[in-house]
Symmetry: C2
Subunit: 123 residues, 2 copies
DNA sequence: GTCGTATCTGCGCATCTTCGCATATAGTTC
DNA sequence: GAACTATATGCGAAGATGCGCAGATACGAC
């Protein structure tokens, strides 16, 4: 997609709308603490649903529902192995993007919650 | 503050939970097409509410509500100038983060193609 | 086949979101 | 002061979301 130095690019407005909707859906999927937690757990490799459920301390149905959302938005992949299903982050680019977001979060933590000034993150 | 001196976790779980909640709130604010649109419009500089409302073609109350959310989450700043209020992106780091996300979005545009097709069929 | 475990899905309920309309507040101009 | 524009806020309805529980499905062990 070449960029035109002219003022306005002529792109189909419907496509623009659809692209924004697509972006918003991705962000919305990321917009829940449990799903953030799941993705953070998957950062270092795949996990079974049971693993995730135990780590987060949630109902299995709840885990399933969140995983279904992550699956539907193509953020994760699922691999069936015998009795269980293993989930993993689909594209390492997502991790990279989240790392940049993490820089933003930490730069503005104090704005939103001054109580957590002593928060540290292990790299 | 309950801390685990095990060496495995260096941050207490309550803070971790709070941090995830904070991240989720930011993502959720980004998780709406209208707010995505507003931020994209503000990319190149500040705009008044009226400008935004006209560009997006939405009710002024609707614009105000979305801007209130962006304001509450500290993603934008608002500057009152006489009769009107100008909004701007607060931290260029957000733009940087969104650019990385954009790379992710474009890498997975195929996933969005289904959306595009559905939208075209509606129109 | 039966039993036990892992995962998913349907349902009901409570809560949150989003929109437009109406109204309120602030600033400018006369 | 009145009249006008620009933003913000309250309200209510329609829809979306999240949770736990119960039930369904799939797989392995026996």
């Amino acid at each position: 997609m070449p960029k035109k130095p002219t003022g306005k690019e002529r792109v189909d407005p419907a496509s623009q709308r659809a692209l924004r909707k697509f972006k918003a859906e991705i962000f919305q999927v990321l917009g829940h603490p449990t799903r953030i937690h799941i993705i953070e757990c998957l950062r270092d490799g795949e996990l079974s649903v049971k693993d995730i459920q135990l780590r987060l301390g949630i109902e299995s149905s709840n885990a399933s529902q969140h995983l279904a959302l992550l699956r539907a938005s193509k953020l994760v992949t699922n691999r069936k192995a015998g009795n269980q299903v293993f989930y993993a982050i689909r594209d390492p680019l997502l991790i990279e993007a989240l790392d940049v977001m993490r820089r933003y979060f930490h730069a503005h933590l104090e704005d939103a919650m001054g109580l957590l000034r002593d928060l540290r993150e292990d790299a």
